[in-house]
Symmetry: C3
Subunit: 352 residues, 3 copies
C-alpha cells in the first residue's frame, strides 16, 4: 500500500521551534468575495463597494478580513490539526495589509508550545501562524492552540512548554491600512449613524437576527478555505462518531456572528485584531445562530483623530435569541447555548 | 441595552414624499455571475458569453437583469420591508443601462403611497425605488407595494393616498442598450431558431422542466443580494410561525422561472421591463417549480427593425407541471399551485 | 400549444456523421474557480495559486481541467442526452490549451456511431465532442456514448455502426501547455515530496478522506455547467421515478474523486487525458464518496525530461472506505459500492 498520503502530524511529531511552511498557496478573487457574501450576507460597505472603499483611500474593496483569516487558517490544517480533538483557542491575532482580489496567500507556522495531557493520549500544540501575500507582506499573524492526538501513547515528547500567550493586541500594534481616510465617510451608505464616539465600554448589543445553518453551506465554506478537517465533511464516519453528525468549522460561526453584528455595529468596517477566542460548544446543521456584542475597550489609534478602535466581545448562541446576553450559567460555567466567545478589535470612524 | 440596532420602519414611520437613500452600495462581479449561474442555471447566451455579447455591440456580458434587480431590491429591505407581512406587487419597472462586473449599485426610494388597512394593524406602503450605478445612471426603476405592520395600533398616519400605478411600460419608454446590434445574431449559439416574428399574441409556452428548491440555495441567493428579510433565514423562529418553515424570497422564484423559460424563449435575451407581478402563494424548500408563459403583446421598438419586444406573462407553479397552463380556479380565484404571476417585457431579435 | 420548446433528440433523430454545434457559449471566470473550490475543495497549487502557475510558465492559474470538461460537456446535453437513459462511457479524451478566466468555451459534436438496442426502445449514440475557446483552440476533445430513448419504437434508423473507440491516449498525443516548466517546482507549496519517479506501475493509493454529498451542492455544480439533464433537478418527477430520488451528475463524482486524490497524488498538477471511464452505479444526496487510485502506466513525454505522465485508474466508492481497493466482486461483476471507474492521465514533475 502506498505511503504517499498525508496522515497529518500527531502530538509527538511536533517540536518546539519547528517551522512549517504550509502547502497550497491560494489566489483569492472576486469569486471568493461573492461566495463570502452568499454564505454569510455581510453588509459592511467597506467590503461590499469598491467605490466606498476607494472613498476611504483604498485601491478597491478588500476581502473581508475573516475570509483572509480562513484562507490562511485552512492551509495550516493538514499539518497542524488533522488529528485534532479540539481547536482550543486563539490569541494575539493581528491583521496586516488588506487582501485584494488577485493576491496570493501563503501560510507558515512555528510551533511555540507543547504540553502533553496527563492521559498521555493527547497533547496541546501551540502554533503561531503567519499568512503573507505574494509580496511577503503580513496579512494575518495569530496564535492558536489545539488538542492533538498522539499516534503512540508511549511516545515521549522531549521539550515541552506552555508559551506565554499575548494578551489583547495594543493599539500601537494595530495595522491601519495605508492611505486610510474617513474624510468623506458616508454613514448613510454604511448603514448606521453611530460612530466610535457613540459607543461606551460595557455597552451590550443584541444583534437581533438569527440564521440557520445548512450542511451544504458550511461544507462549501470550509472547502472554499481548503480546510481539510475530516469532521466537517464525512457523515459516513461522523454518523458513528461522538456527535453522530458533521461538526461545523468554528470559523464558520465566527463569520456568521460577525455578519449578524452589522445590525448594531455597521460602522465597524475592519477587523484589526483577534485578541482571543474560544469555540465554547459545537454546532451542527439545523442550528440557528444568534449573536450579541459587548464593548470591552475603546482604543485611541496613535496619531489618528479620525478613526478609533473598539475591542469587542462577540458571543454567538445556538437556538436561543441573544436579548438575554447569555454567557455563563449560575455555576460560572459556559451556558450550553453559547457556541463562541470571541474577543476582537475593529476600526470605526470617529466624529469629525 | 443598546438602541443602535435597526428594527426597521413600521407603517406609521413612513410619510408620502419621504426619500430614503439605502445603505450598502454593492460592487457586482464575475463572482456574482457565477453564483447566479450555479443557483439558477440560466442559458441566455447574451449573459453567458462575453463573445456573444460583444457580437451584439456590448463591451462584455452583462449581469443578468434580474440579478441587478435583486441587488437593487435587497438594499431596500432594511428600510422598507423589515416589518412586512407580505410583498404585494410590482409595477412600472424599467431596466436602464446594463450592469457589468465592476459596477457599483446603490438604491434610493421615494414613498409614493400609504394606505392603512381597516384593522389598523397594518398598512400598505408604496415605494418607487431606483437603482443606479457609480455614474448615477439608472440601472432599474420600479414601484413595489408591501403590507407593513404598525408598531402602535393607535398611531395615526397623517397623509394617505393610493398612488396611480403605472400600467405596462410603453415601447417608447424601454431602454435599449447603447450600441446594441443584432446584425450577427447567432441563433445556433442562442439555442433556438424562433425570433420575434415567430411569436403570436396569445401563444402559450409550457417550459417543461422543473427544479426543486433547497434551503441552502435560496438562503445563499437571498444573502447574495444582501436581502435581510428575517423570514428567509431563521428556522428557529419561523418554525413557530405561520408556515412552520422558512419562506422563500419571491425574487428567487422569479429567477427560477425566468431560467426555466429559456426552453421556449431562448432568444429573449434581455429583460427590459417589469410591468407588474404578484407572489401569489408562498414557496418552501422541497417545492418543485415549473413555469409557463403567455405572449401578451408584441411591441415594435421605435426606430428599430432589427429588434422587437415581447410582453410576456410568466407563471410559476409549485409541484405541478405547467402543461395545463394553470392560473385561476373555476371560482376565478388563484389556483393554489400558482406561486408567481409576473408581467414583464423582453427584447428579441427580429428576422432580417 | 407552442412547439418552440426543445424536447431533445431521440435515438432515431441522429445520423452517422451528423454535426451539431451546441448552444450557449460560456465565458468562464474567477467566479467559476471559486465555486469549483467551494464545491470540491481541490488543493492542487497549479490551479489554486496564480504565483505557482506563473512559476511554472503559465500566464496565470488555469481553470481546473475537469471544470473545463464539465463546461464543454454541459453544452452537449440539450442536443445529445436530454432523453438519455444512461451515460455509458468516455474514451479518447484529450485536454488541449489551458482555460483561463475570460476564455469563452463552445462545443460542437459529431455523431460517430449509432446502435439500436434489441428491445427497439433505446439505442446507443456515440458522439465525439470538441470544446474550443474563443480563438478556436481545442480545450477538450472526447468521445462519449450514451443510451438514448426512441420516440417511436417503430422508427427505423438507416445507418448504424459501432465506432472503433480509441484506446488510451498515447504520450505523443498529450498536449503539454506552452511554456510549461518545472524548473522552480516547489514541492512544499505543492503539498507532497513524491514526484513522477516515485510512483510505480501497479501501486495503489487509498485517498483516505470521504465527503458527503448534499442536494444543494450537486445541483449548484450541475447548473454551473449549464447541464440540463432533468434527472438531477426535479424531485417532483424523480420521486416517482426508478430511484425515487434525484440522480447525481456523474461528472460531480469525477470531480469529488479527483479532489480527494490530492491526498496521495498532490503533484499530479494537470489532467491531460481521459482514456476511458464508466459511471458504475448511481449516487444520491447523502452518499459519502471515497476514492482510491492505481498507477496503470508511466509515460515519458517526448522531448521532456522534467515532466512525465501517469496513467491512473481512479475508483470512487460510496459509503465504504477505499482502504480495501474495492472494484469487482468475486463473481467478476462491479462491486455495488463502486460508483466510478475512471482511466485518466496526469502530468507530474520529474526529479531533476
Amino acid at each position: 500500500m502506498s505511503t504517499k498520503t498525508n496522515s497529518g502530524n500527531f502530538f509527538e511529531d511536533f517540536r518546539i521551534g519547528q517551522e512549517i511552511r504550509h502547502a497550497t498557496p491560494r489566489t483569492v478573487t472576486e469569486g471568493d468575495i461573492a461566495l463570502y457574501t452568499a454564505l454569510y450576507g455581510p453588509r459592511f460597505a467597506f467590503n461590499s463597494s469598491a467605490e466606498f472603499a476607494r472613498n476611504m483611500g483604498l485601491e478597491s474593496a478588500p476581502l473581508d478580513d475573516l475570509a483572509a483569516f480562513h484562507v490562511a487558517f485552512g492551509k495550516t490544517v493538514p499539518d497542524v490539526s488533522l488529528n485534532a480533538v479540539a481547536n482550543l483557542g486563539y490569541a494575539g491575532g493581528r491583521f496586516g495589509v488588506p487582501v485584494f482580489p488577485g493576491d496570493t496567500i501563503s501560510t507558515a507556522s512555528t510551533v511555540i508550545g507543547l504540553k502533553e495531557n496527563s492521559n498521555k493520549q493527547t497533547g496541546v500544540v501551540y502554533v503561531r501562524s503567519i499568512g503573507t501575500n505574494q509580496r511577503a507582506e503580513m496579512v494575518v499573524d495569530y496564535v492558536r492552540w489545539v488538542m492533538v492526538r498522539k499516534r503512540d501513547v508511549e511516545a515521549v515528547v522531549p521539550e515541552q512548554k506552555v508559551p506565554e500567550l499575548p494578551g489583547s493586541v495594543a493599539a500601537s500594534d494595530l495595522v491601519i491600512p495605508a492611505g486610510l481616510t474617513t474624510a468623506g465617510y458616508d454613514v448613510i451608505a454604511a448603514g448606521s449613524p453611530y460612530l466610535w464616539d457613540d459607543y461606551q465600554v460595557g455597552e451590550k448589543i443584541d444583534h437581533v437576527d438569527g440564521t440557520t445553518i445548512e450542511e451544504a453551506e458550511h461544507m462549501m465554506a470550509t472547502r472554499l478555505w481548503q480546510n481539510t478537517a475530516k469532521v466537517h465533511f464525512n457523515q459516513h464516519t461522523e454518523g458513528q462518531g461522538r456527535f453522530g453528525r458533521r461538526l461545523i468549522y468554528g470559523g464558520h460561526i465566527i463569520s456568521i456572528a460577525r455578519a449578524l453584528s452589522f445590525n448594531g455595529l455597521a460602522n465597524a468596517f475592519k477587523v484589526v485584531a483577534i485578541n482571543g477566542g474560544r469555540h465554547v460548544n459545537p454546532t451542527f446543521a439545523g442550528d440557528t445562530i444568534y449573536a450579541w456584542s459587548e464593548v470591552l475597550e475603546k482604543l485611541d489609534i496613535p496619531g489618528r483623530t479620525d478613526v478609533g478602535a473598539l475591542r469587542l466581545r462577540l458571543v454567538a448562541l445556538k437556538n436561543q435569541p441573544a436579548a438575554g446576553f447569555t454567557l455563563k450559567g449560575e455555576d460560572g460555567k459556559d451556558d450550553p447555548a453559547v457556541v463562541l466567545d470571541f474577543d476582537y478589535t475593529v476600526l470605526m470612524a470617529r466624529k469629525g
